[in-house]
Protein backbone atom coordinates (compact mmCIF):
# COMPACT_ATOMS: atom_id res chain seq x y z
CA UNK A 1 0.00 0.00 0.00
CA UNK A 2 1.29 3.40 -0.86
CA UNK A 3 1.93 5.59 2.13
CA UNK A 4 -0.64 8.29 2.63
CA UNK A 5 0.59 11.81 3.33
CA UNK A 6 1.56 12.25 6.92
CA UNK A 7 -0.84 14.61 8.63
CA UNK A 8 0.90 15.71 11.76
CA UNK A 9 -0.79 18.61 13.44
CA UNK A 10 1.73 21.04 14.78
CA UNK A 11 1.17 23.97 17.04
CA UNK A 12 3.16 26.47 15.04
CA UNK A 13 0.46 27.63 12.74
CA UNK A 14 -3.27 27.63 13.31
CA UNK A 15 -3.86 28.08 9.62
CA UNK A 16 -2.02 24.85 9.00
CA UNK A 17 -4.37 23.18 11.45
CA UNK A 18 -7.30 24.14 9.30
CA UNK A 19 -5.71 22.32 6.40
CA UNK A 20 -5.22 19.26 8.56
CA UNK A 21 -8.80 19.43 9.76
CA UNK A 22 -10.32 19.50 6.33
CA UNK A 23 -8.21 16.62 5.12
CA UNK A 24 -9.53 14.23 7.72
CA UNK A 25 -12.92 12.73 8.39
CA UNK A 26 -14.29 9.48 9.78
CA UNK A 27 -14.57 8.22 6.21
CA UNK A 28 -11.04 9.25 5.47
CA UNK A 29 -8.69 6.67 3.98
CA UNK A 30 -6.39 7.63 6.83
CA UNK A 31 -8.28 5.23 9.06
CA UNK A 32 -7.78 2.42 6.60
CA UNK A 33 -4.11 3.24 6.37
CA UNK A 34 -3.81 3.27 10.15
CA UNK A 35 -5.54 -0.10 10.28
CA UNK A 36 -3.11 -1.46 7.71
CA UNK A 37 -0.18 -0.20 9.75
CA UNK A 38 -1.59 -1.78 12.88
CA UNK A 39 -2.08 -5.11 11.16
CA UNK A 40 1.45 -4.93 9.82
CA UNK A 41 2.79 -4.21 13.30
CA UNK A 42 0.81 -7.05 14.84
CA UNK A 43 2.22 -9.22 12.11
CA UNK A 44 5.73 -8.43 13.21
CA UNK A 45 6.66 -5.29 11.28
CA UNK A 46 8.02 -2.85 13.82
CA UNK A 47 8.58 -0.20 11.17
CA UNK A 48 4.79 0.01 10.87
CA UNK A 49 4.62 1.09 14.50
CA UNK A 50 7.29 3.69 13.86
CA UNK A 51 5.23 4.96 10.96
CA UNK A 52 2.19 5.23 13.22
CA UNK A 53 4.19 7.24 15.72
CA UNK A 54 5.38 9.57 12.99
CA UNK A 55 1.83 9.98 11.72
CA UNK A 56 0.24 10.77 15.06
CA UNK A 57 3.10 11.59 17.41
CA UNK A 58 2.71 15.29 16.73
CA UNK A 59 -0.87 15.15 17.92
CA UNK A 60 0.00 13.22 21.06
CA UNK A 61 3.07 15.23 22.00
CA UNK A 62 1.22 18.43 21.25
CA UNK A 63 -1.40 17.53 23.83
CA UNK A 64 0.68 16.02 26.62
CA UNK A 65 3.68 18.31 26.68
CA UNK A 66 1.54 21.24 27.69
CA UNK A 67 1.19 19.53 31.04
CA UNK A 68 4.56 17.85 31.27
CA UNK A 69 7.36 18.92 33.57
CA UNK A 70 9.92 18.72 30.79
CA UNK A 71 10.49 17.14 27.43
CA UNK A 72 11.46 13.80 28.98
CA UNK A 73 8.20 13.56 30.88
CA UNK A 74 6.33 14.59 27.75
CA UNK A 75 7.95 11.74 25.86
CA UNK A 76 7.15 9.30 28.64
CA UNK A 77 3.53 10.41 28.63
CA UNK A 78 3.33 10.15 24.86
CA UNK A 79 4.85 6.71 25.03
CA UNK A 80 2.20 5.59 27.50
CA UNK A 81 -0.48 7.00 25.21
CA UNK A 82 0.73 4.90 22.30
CA UNK A 83 1.01 1.76 24.40
CA UNK A 84 -2.49 2.18 25.78
CA UNK A 85 -3.85 2.90 22.34
CA UNK A 86 -2.13 -0.22 21.11
CA UNK A 87 -3.87 -2.23 23.80
CA UNK A 88 -7.21 -0.66 22.86
CA UNK A 89 -6.87 -1.07 19.14
CA UNK A 90 -5.68 -4.67 19.06
CA UNK A 91 -9.19 -5.84 19.75
CA UNK A 92 -10.62 -3.67 17.01
CA UNK A 93 -8.24 -4.41 14.19
CA UNK A 94 -9.95 -7.63 13.27
CA UNK A 95 -13.30 -5.86 13.08
CA UNK A 96 -11.84 -3.13 10.90
CA UNK A 97 -13.16 -0.62 13.39
CA UNK A 98 -9.99 1.38 13.82
CA UNK A 99 -9.90 5.03 14.80
CA UNK A 100 -6.33 5.35 15.93
CA UNK A 101 -6.28 9.12 15.86
CA UNK A 102 -9.44 9.45 17.93
CA UNK A 103 -8.23 6.92 20.47
CA UNK A 104 -4.86 8.56 20.73
CA UNK A 105 -6.45 11.95 21.25
CA UNK A 106 -8.78 10.69 23.95
CA UNK A 107 -6.09 8.78 25.81
CA UNK A 108 -3.66 11.68 25.52
CA UNK A 109 -6.05 14.23 26.94
CA UNK A 110 -6.93 11.92 29.82
CA UNK A 111 -3.33 11.07 30.61
CA UNK A 112 -2.41 14.71 30.47
CA UNK A 113 -5.14 15.46 32.97
CA UNK A 114 -3.85 12.73 35.26
CA UNK A 115 -0.34 14.09 34.96
CA UNK A 116 -1.59 17.42 36.18
CA UNK A 117 -3.47 15.83 39.03
CA UNK A 118 -0.55 13.63 40.07
CA UNK A 119 2.08 16.27 40.02
CA UNK A 120 -0.33 18.98 41.19
CA UNK A 121 1.53 21.50 39.20
CA UNK A 122 1.60 22.84 35.77
CA UNK A 123 5.03 23.46 34.50
CA UNK A 124 4.74 25.76 31.61
CA UNK A 125 7.74 27.57 32.99
CA UNK A 126 9.88 24.53 32.36
CA UNK A 127 8.86 24.53 28.76
CA UNK A 128 9.07 28.27 28.37
CA UNK A 129 12.38 28.02 26.63
CA UNK A 130 10.75 25.86 24.00
CA UNK A 131 8.02 28.33 23.29
CA UNK A 132 7.88 30.16 20.08
CA UNK A 133 10.43 32.92 20.05
CA UNK A 134 11.95 31.59 23.27
CA UNK A 135 10.71 34.61 25.15
CA UNK A 136 7.56 35.38 27.06
CA UNK A 137 5.84 38.68 26.88
CA UNK A 138 6.87 39.40 30.43
CA UNK A 139 10.53 38.94 29.61
CA UNK A 140 10.25 41.50 26.87
CA UNK A 141 9.09 44.17 29.25
CA UNK A 142 12.02 46.16 30.47
CA UNK A 143 10.21 47.80 33.29
CA UNK A 144 10.39 45.39 36.19
CA UNK A 145 7.13 46.38 37.83
CA UNK A 146 5.16 46.19 34.62
CA UNK A 147 6.82 42.87 33.92
CA UNK A 148 5.69 41.48 37.25
CA UNK A 149 2.14 42.63 36.66
CA UNK A 150 2.15 41.07 33.23
CA UNK A 151 3.57 37.85 34.59
CA UNK A 152 0.88 37.76 37.25
CA UNK A 153 -1.77 38.26 34.60
CA UNK A 154 -0.34 35.40 32.58
CA UNK A 155 -0.29 33.22 35.67
CA UNK A 156 -3.92 33.95 36.44
CA UNK A 157 -5.15 33.30 32.93
CA UNK A 158 -3.06 30.13 32.67
CA UNK A 159 -4.46 28.91 35.97
CA UNK A 160 -7.94 29.49 34.58
CA UNK A 161 -7.35 26.64 32.14
CA UNK A 162 -6.89 24.18 34.98
CA UNK A 163 -10.04 25.44 36.66
CA UNK A 164 -12.12 24.71 33.59
CA UNK A 165 -14.63 21.88 33.87
CA UNK A 166 -13.14 18.63 32.64
CA UNK A 167 -15.04 18.50 29.36
CA UNK A 168 -14.27 22.10 28.50
CA UNK A 169 -10.58 21.56 29.20
CA UNK A 170 -10.57 18.41 27.09
CA UNK A 171 -12.20 20.15 24.15
CA UNK A 172 -9.89 23.14 24.44
CA UNK A 173 -6.78 20.95 24.59
CA UNK A 174 -7.86 18.87 21.61
CA UNK A 175 -8.69 21.97 19.63
CA UNK A 176 -5.69 24.15 20.51
CA UNK A 177 -2.93 21.67 21.23
CA UNK A 178 -4.16 18.76 19.15
CA UNK A 179 -5.40 20.85 16.26
CA UNK A 180 -8.47 18.62 15.90
CA UNK A 181 -11.60 19.81 14.19
CA UNK A 182 -14.78 19.88 16.22
CA UNK A 183 -15.91 16.84 14.33
CA UNK A 184 -12.77 14.96 15.33
CA UNK A 185 -13.09 16.20 18.90
CA UNK A 186 -16.65 14.92 18.99
CA UNK A 187 -15.48 11.55 17.72
CA UNK A 188 -12.62 11.37 20.22
CA UNK A 189 -14.76 12.27 23.21
CA UNK A 190 -17.83 10.46 21.94
CA UNK A 191 -20.02 13.52 22.14
CA UNK A 192 -22.05 15.45 19.58
CA UNK A 193 -20.21 17.94 17.42
CA UNK A 194 -22.55 20.69 18.56
CA UNK A 195 -21.75 19.82 22.15
CA UNK A 196 -18.03 20.08 21.39
CA UNK A 197 -18.56 23.57 19.98
CA UNK A 198 -20.59 24.64 22.98
CA UNK A 199 -17.94 23.35 25.38
CA UNK A 200 -15.31 25.23 23.44
CA UNK A 201 -17.24 28.46 23.53
CA UNK A 202 -17.83 28.17 27.25
CA UNK A 203 -14.13 27.56 27.80
CA UNK A 204 -13.14 30.54 25.68
CA UNK A 205 -15.60 32.74 27.49
CA UNK A 206 -14.13 31.70 30.83
CA UNK A 207 -10.62 32.45 29.65
CA UNK A 208 -11.73 35.82 28.41
CA UNK A 209 -13.37 36.53 31.76
CA UNK A 210 -10.19 35.47 33.55
CA UNK A 211 -8.17 37.85 31.40
CA UNK A 212 -10.59 40.68 32.11
CA UNK A 213 -10.47 39.97 35.86
CA UNK A 214 -6.68 39.88 35.82
CA UNK A 215 -6.53 43.20 34.01
CA UNK A 216 -8.91 44.76 36.49
CA UNK A 217 -6.74 43.65 39.39
CA UNK A 218 -3.63 45.05 37.78
Amino acid sequence: MEAAPIHVATSDDYAERRTVRRSRSPESPDNAYDAALLRAFLGGDETAFTALVHRHGGLVLGIVRRYARDSDQARDLAQRVFLRALQATRRSVARGDVHVRAWLARIAVNLAKNAVRDSARRTQAALAHEREGSSSKAAEVLDAEAGLLLAERERQVSAAVLRLPRRQRQVLALRVDGGLSFREIAQALEIAEGNARVQYHHAMRRLQDALAAAEEES
Binding site: V8, T10, S11, D12, Y14, A15, R17, R18, R21, R22, F41, G43, G44, E46, F49, T50, V53, H54, G57, G58, L61, G62, R65, R66, S71, R75, D76, A78, Q79, F82, L83, L86, Q124, L127, E130, R131, E132, S136, K137, R153, V157, S158, A160, V161, L172, R175, V176, D177, S181, F182, R197, Y200, H201, M204, R205, L207, Q208, A210, L211, A212
Partner: protein, 163 residues
Protein backbone atom coordinates in the same frame (compact mmCIF):
# COMPACT_ATOMS: atom_id res chain seq x y z
CA UNK B 1 -30.28 46.96 14.36
CA UNK B 2 -29.30 44.83 11.43
CA UNK B 3 -25.63 45.27 12.29
CA UNK B 4 -26.33 44.13 15.86
CA UNK B 5 -27.97 40.98 14.59
CA UNK B 6 -24.97 40.23 12.49
CA UNK B 7 -22.68 40.74 15.44
CA UNK B 8 -24.72 38.34 17.54
CA UNK B 9 -24.63 35.83 14.74
CA UNK B 10 -20.89 36.08 14.34
CA UNK B 11 -19.95 36.03 18.02
CA UNK B 12 -19.47 32.24 18.21
CA UNK B 13 -17.27 32.42 15.14
CA UNK B 14 -14.99 34.93 16.84
CA UNK B 15 -14.13 32.43 19.53
CA UNK B 16 -13.49 29.70 16.98
CA UNK B 17 -11.42 32.09 14.90
CA UNK B 18 -9.01 32.53 17.81
CA UNK B 19 -7.87 28.92 17.43
CA UNK B 20 -8.03 28.90 13.64
CA UNK B 21 -11.06 26.67 13.52
CA UNK B 22 -12.94 28.54 10.82
CA UNK B 23 -13.36 27.27 7.31
CA UNK B 24 -12.15 29.67 4.61
CA UNK B 25 -15.66 30.84 3.77
CA UNK B 26 -16.38 31.57 7.42
CA UNK B 27 -13.03 33.27 7.83
CA UNK B 28 -13.74 35.55 4.89
CA UNK B 29 -17.20 36.37 6.18
CA UNK B 30 -15.84 37.29 9.59
CA UNK B 31 -12.99 39.31 8.10
CA UNK B 32 -15.39 41.42 6.08
CA UNK B 33 -17.48 42.05 9.17
CA UNK B 34 -14.51 42.97 11.35
CA UNK B 35 -13.43 45.69 8.95
CA UNK B 36 -16.51 47.71 9.75
CA UNK B 37 -17.27 46.64 13.33
CA UNK B 38 -15.03 47.92 16.08
CA UNK B 39 -16.80 46.06 18.94
CA UNK B 40 -16.34 42.74 17.16
CA UNK B 41 -12.72 43.58 16.44
CA UNK B 42 -12.20 44.16 20.15
CA UNK B 43 -14.01 40.94 20.98
CA UNK B 44 -11.92 38.98 18.51
CA UNK B 45 -8.74 40.53 19.87
CA UNK B 46 -9.77 39.67 23.44
CA UNK B 47 -10.37 36.02 22.52
CA UNK B 48 -7.05 35.83 20.74
CA UNK B 49 -5.18 37.44 23.62
CA UNK B 50 -6.80 35.25 26.26
CA UNK B 51 -5.96 32.13 24.30
CA UNK B 52 -2.40 33.19 23.58
CA UNK B 53 -1.79 33.84 27.28
CA UNK B 54 -3.60 30.80 28.62
CA UNK B 55 -2.20 28.36 26.09
CA UNK B 56 0.86 29.86 24.47
CA UNK B 57 1.90 28.12 21.33
CA UNK B 58 4.69 25.62 21.77
CA UNK B 59 7.47 24.92 19.35
CA UNK B 60 6.60 22.46 16.58
CA UNK B 61 7.28 18.79 17.21
CA UNK B 62 10.43 17.78 15.39
CA UNK B 63 11.20 14.60 13.48
CA UNK B 64 13.92 13.87 16.02
CA UNK B 65 11.36 13.96 18.83
CA UNK B 66 9.08 11.61 16.91
CA UNK B 67 11.92 9.18 16.22
CA UNK B 68 12.90 9.25 19.88
CA UNK B 69 9.31 8.63 20.88
CA UNK B 70 8.95 5.70 18.48
CA UNK B 71 12.16 4.10 19.73
CA UNK B 72 11.18 4.54 23.37
CA UNK B 73 7.70 3.14 22.81
CA UNK B 74 9.00 0.10 20.96
CA UNK B 75 11.54 -0.55 23.69
CA UNK B 76 8.82 -0.31 26.31
CA UNK B 77 6.71 -2.99 24.68
CA UNK B 78 7.40 -6.06 26.70
CA UNK B 79 9.02 -8.94 24.80
CA UNK B 80 5.94 -11.08 25.34
CA UNK B 81 3.88 -8.43 23.57
CA UNK B 82 6.10 -7.92 20.60
CA UNK B 83 4.09 -8.44 17.45
CA UNK B 84 4.91 -11.93 16.21
CA UNK B 85 5.27 -13.40 19.68
CA UNK B 86 2.13 -11.64 20.74
CA UNK B 87 0.13 -13.23 17.95
CA UNK B 88 1.58 -16.66 18.71
CA UNK B 89 0.75 -16.20 22.37
CA UNK B 90 -2.83 -15.27 21.57
CA UNK B 91 -3.14 -18.18 19.18
CA UNK B 92 -1.82 -20.58 21.80
CA UNK B 93 -3.95 -19.09 24.53
CA UNK B 94 -7.01 -19.31 22.32
CA UNK B 95 -6.42 -22.96 21.54
CA UNK B 96 -5.79 -23.75 25.20
CA UNK B 97 -8.95 -21.94 26.25
CA UNK B 98 -10.95 -23.81 23.61
CA UNK B 99 -9.57 -27.15 24.74
CA UNK B 100 -10.29 -26.36 28.38
CA UNK B 101 -13.83 -25.34 27.56
CA UNK B 102 -14.36 -28.53 25.56
CA UNK B 103 -13.16 -30.67 28.47
CA UNK B 104 -15.35 -28.80 30.92
CA UNK B 105 -18.46 -28.96 28.77
CA UNK B 106 -18.05 -32.49 27.49
CA UNK B 107 -19.87 -34.19 30.41
CA UNK B 108 -22.79 -31.84 29.99
CA UNK B 109 -22.97 -32.39 26.26
CA UNK B 110 -22.40 -36.14 26.27
CA UNK B 111 -24.58 -37.12 29.21
CA UNK B 112 -27.82 -38.92 28.63
CA UNK B 113 -30.60 -36.55 27.86
CA UNK B 114 -34.33 -37.14 27.85
CA UNK B 115 -35.89 -37.45 24.47
CA UNK B 116 -37.50 -34.27 23.13
CA UNK B 117 -40.93 -35.69 23.64
CA UNK B 118 -40.39 -36.31 27.33
CA UNK B 119 -39.02 -32.88 28.18
CA UNK B 120 -42.43 -31.33 28.57
CA UNK B 121 -43.33 -33.93 31.18
CA UNK B 122 -40.34 -33.13 33.40
CA UNK B 123 -41.03 -31.18 36.56
CA UNK B 124 -38.73 -29.64 39.08
CA UNK B 125 -38.72 -31.31 42.43
CA UNK B 126 -37.26 -29.99 45.64
CA UNK B 127 -34.04 -31.89 46.45
CA UNK B 128 -33.83 -34.03 49.54
CA UNK B 129 -31.12 -32.51 51.83
CA UNK B 130 -30.37 -35.87 53.45
CA UNK B 131 -29.87 -37.51 50.08
CA UNK B 132 -27.54 -34.73 48.98
CA UNK B 133 -25.58 -35.03 52.24
CA UNK B 134 -25.12 -38.76 51.74
CA UNK B 135 -24.15 -38.26 48.11
CA UNK B 136 -21.45 -35.78 49.12
CA UNK B 137 -19.57 -38.56 50.93
CA UNK B 138 -17.86 -38.48 54.29
CA UNK B 139 -16.90 -35.09 55.73
CA UNK B 140 -13.32 -33.92 55.31
CA UNK B 141 -11.41 -34.39 58.52
CA UNK B 142 -9.77 -31.38 60.10
CA UNK B 143 -6.02 -31.21 59.73
CA UNK B 144 -4.29 -32.00 62.96
CA UNK B 145 -1.82 -29.14 63.36
CA UNK B 146 -0.54 -30.63 66.58
CA UNK B 147 0.95 -33.48 64.67
CA UNK B 148 3.17 -31.07 62.71
CA UNK B 149 4.45 -29.23 65.74
CA UNK B 150 7.97 -30.17 64.85
CA UNK B 151 7.81 -28.69 61.35
CA UNK B 152 10.53 -26.03 60.97
CA UNK B 153 8.18 -23.54 59.32
CA UNK B 154 5.93 -23.26 62.34
CA UNK B 155 8.59 -23.79 64.93
CA UNK B 156 9.73 -20.22 64.48
CA UNK B 157 6.42 -18.93 65.77
CA UNK B 158 6.83 -20.96 68.94
CA UNK B 159 10.10 -19.28 69.76
CA UNK B 160 12.17 -22.26 68.75
CA UNK B 161 15.37 -21.69 66.87
CA UNK B 162 15.59 -22.86 63.35
CA UNK B 163 18.33 -25.29 62.56
Amino acid sequence: MKAMARCHELEPLLAERASGALAPAEEARVAVHLVGCAPCRAEAAAYAEALSIAMPRLAPVTDAELSSLAAAALAAIRPSERPARFLRWWLGAGLAATAAAAVALAPMVLRDRPSPGSVSSLRWEAPDPDALWRAAGPPIEDVDDEGDAGAPLFAAYDGAELS
